[in-house]
């Protein structure tokens, strides 16, 4: 494998006495889709939050292509090219769909305060360009018809898509998805798979996805890491991982492991 895009080295995260992550190491290859799975409480969301700077690791380090990012402020990590979606869709509910996407784009179509208060100069052009770019992203996720709808008024499946479009707006190199398939119906999961695969293959986007939903994870992942109790217990290609005894035990318990004859 060529040099990893994201490198997590021996990261530990503690909350008071609770050890959420206990020395996890993980490498994400550029242009790949890497999934992190594990039972509830395994530390998956914690890992994501550590990468994006919401939590500070007690030990270890996180590198984005040789640059160390742990300890940096979240908005700086974002600007280095890491975007994320949230488990409990943290959309800007009162804003329209297209405005939600424009938030991420604004930095790339920037103008100063003077322009903002006068609405003169580059204002109209910058706004128009941002709007156009936002419309393109919404098209990518299939939300073109919903541009002026308030985000909180969207049906759940569409909110999920908006989350992705919004994350893409910051033009990331790495996209972190926090349980994107949770609550989706089978058809919606198929659509989501198609969107993610397309993003990866045509745009060269690297994706790190956390989820439980096997139809998503097994279909699109190039590589899967399994966490349990804050530790990595298995890693490899999808077919290989699903047969690992430790993984089965983690999800289904000891008896299931014996029952499945592993």
């Amino acid at each position: 494998m060529s040099a990893p895009l994201l490198s997590i080295r021996d990261v530990a995260v503690r909350f008071g006495g609770i050890v959420a992550l206990d020395g996890v190491s993980l490498d994400v290859a550029p242009g790949s889709i890497h999934a992190v799975i594990g039972p509830n409480g395994a530390g998956k969301s914690t890992l994501l939050n550590a990468i994006t700077g919401l939590y500070r690791p007690a030990n270890g380090a996180i590198f984005l292509q040789e640059k160390r990012i742990d300890g940096l402020a979240p908005h700086l990590i974002t600007r280095m090219g890491i975007a994320r979606t949230f488990q409990n869709t943290e959309l800007f509910g009162d804003m329209t769909t297209i405005e939600n996407v424009m938030i991420g784009l604004d930095r790339h179509h920037a103008y100063g305060l003077l322009t903002a208060v006068t609405h003169a100069g580059t204002f109209k052009r910058a706004e128009a360009e941002a709007r156009e770019a936002a419309a393109k992203l919404l098209d990518l996720v299939g939300l073109s018809g919903q541009m002026t709808v308030a985000a909180s008024a969207l049906p759940f499946g569409n909110q999920r898509r908006l989350e992705i479009a919004r994350a893409l707006a910051i033009q990331p190199r790495l996209l972190l998805l926090d349980e994107p398939a949770a609550g989706l119906r089978e058809a919606e999961i198929d659509d989501l798979n198609a969107i993610l695969l397309r993003l990866c293959r045509t745009q060269g986007l690297t994706i790190l996805v956390i989820d439980h939903v096997m139809p998503l994870v097994m279909t699109i992942s190039d590589r899967i890491s399994v966490l349990n109790f804050g530790r990595k217990i298995a890693e490899g290609e999808p077919e290989q991982v699903r047969r690992e005894p430790e993984v089965i035990k983690a999800y289904l318990g000891d008896r299931a492991k014996h029952a499945l004859g592993a």
């Binding site: 994006t52 919401l54 402020a73 979240p74 908005h75 974002t78 600007r79 975007a83 994320r84 949230f86 943290e90 959309l91 800007f92 509910g93 009162d94 804003m95 405005e99 424009m102 938030i103 991420g104 604004d106 930095r107 179509h109 920037a110 103008y111 305060l113 322009t115 903002a116 208060v117 006068t118 609405h119 204002f123 910058a126 706004e127 941002a130 919004r166 707006a169 910051i170």
Partner: protein, 316 residues
């Protein structure tokens, strides 16, 4: 500009030119008072309405604006139209520094910190004897420009109104730009805004800076109108008063702010002989609106328009 906006602009300019010849002095004075108050409340709206940060520092910014420009004028001899903008920028910087507090606290503690700030400023003014005139206060020099003195309501009208309009237009523009979007985003979800690359602390501190700047300009205007600075005025209660006007007006609506400011300025007159109940009425209005109609007057207007529209549709 759209047609309706152009018409509104024409009407506005016409009213502006006609009023001093048609309205009596005390009415013009009231118009100036309303405009100055509205500018202060606009500042409150930016930080509490748009950025969603509770701030009870507005009274302190008003005080600093009035006292700052007066002291600067009397000590350096520079005219008010120079010292007020300079003071306002300085107060904006103070606001930015105050806004850094949002890194550590929010909600209740932020309210408390801004209250303490206002209290400290007021105490400093009361005890700052040689410089600030102490508890007795100090007089405000008359406004001079191009060799002319503007002291009556009718004269200050020509100074205050254009500034008021300019500031409102500029603020409205800023709020419908990417900065306004950013503020709206962080108001709804700070975590997501941060994840979108927004420097949330900078934006919040920036909102405080804007409220400081606008508060100071409004403070300078109010000082010119009252011609005297009395530190007893610049209390925490006064901050609550500005917050009240913002709430009643609807915290995101420029028109609402102006209407609400007018209501509060004209209330003493409307109450006639019940003057002593003025404070009580203000407080009751705030209480009533926050419980029953937190979106303020502007939402009432919007509801009326909606009702009108829907009833029109019912007609076959």
């Amino acid at each position: 500009m759209t047609i309706s906006k152009t018409i509104a602009a024409f009407v506005g300019v016409a009213l502006f030119l006609i009023s001093p010849h048609v309205l009596p002095e005390f009415r013009l004075f009231q118009v100036c008072l309303i405009a100055a108050t509205a500018v202060v409340v606009l500042g409150q709206t930016v930080v509490t309405g748009f950025a969603g940060q509770i701030s009870l520092a507005q009274s302190a910014f008003v005080a600093l604006g009035g006292y700052g420009s007066t002291i600067l004028s009397t000590s350096t001899g520079q005219p008010f139209w120079v010292t007020l903008p300079v003071t306002a920028v300085a107060v904006g910087v103070i606001g930015f520094v105050l806004g850094q507090a949002t890194l550590r606290v929010s909600g209740h503690y932020l309210a408390l910190a801004t209250m303490a700030f206002t209290a400290i400023v007021q105490l400093a003014l009361i005890h700052g004897d040689p410089l600030t005139g102490g508890a007795a206060g100090m007089p405000v020099p008359a406004f001079e420009m191009f060799g002319r003195t503007f002291s009556t309501g009718g004269e200050l009208f020509y100074v205050i109104l254009p500034v008021f309009v300019a500031l409102f237009v500029m603020t409205a523009n800023a709020m419908s730009s990417r900065f306004g979007r950013g503020l709206a985003a962080l108001r709804q979800s700070e975590t997501a805004a941060e994840a979108m690359g927004l420097d949330v602390l900078r934006y919040k501190a920036g909102a405080f800076a804007a409220s400081g700047f606008l508060g100071a300009i409004g403070g300078g205007m109010l000082a010119l109108l009252s011609t005297y600075l009395d530190p007893a005025q610049f209390s925490i209660t006064q901050s609550v008063y500005f917050l009240a006007i913002a709430v009643v007006g609807g915290m995101l609506s420029p028109v609402g702010i102006v209407v609400s400011s007018a209501l509060f300025v004209l209330l003493p007159e409307l109450l006639q002989s019940f003057q002593s109940y003025l404070g009580l009425v203000f407080a009751l209005l705030l209480l009533g609106f926050i419980v029953l109609r937190p979106e303020g007057i502007s939402s009432i207007a919007r509801t009326l328009v909606r009702v009108k529209d829907s009833s029109a549709r019912e007609v076959p």
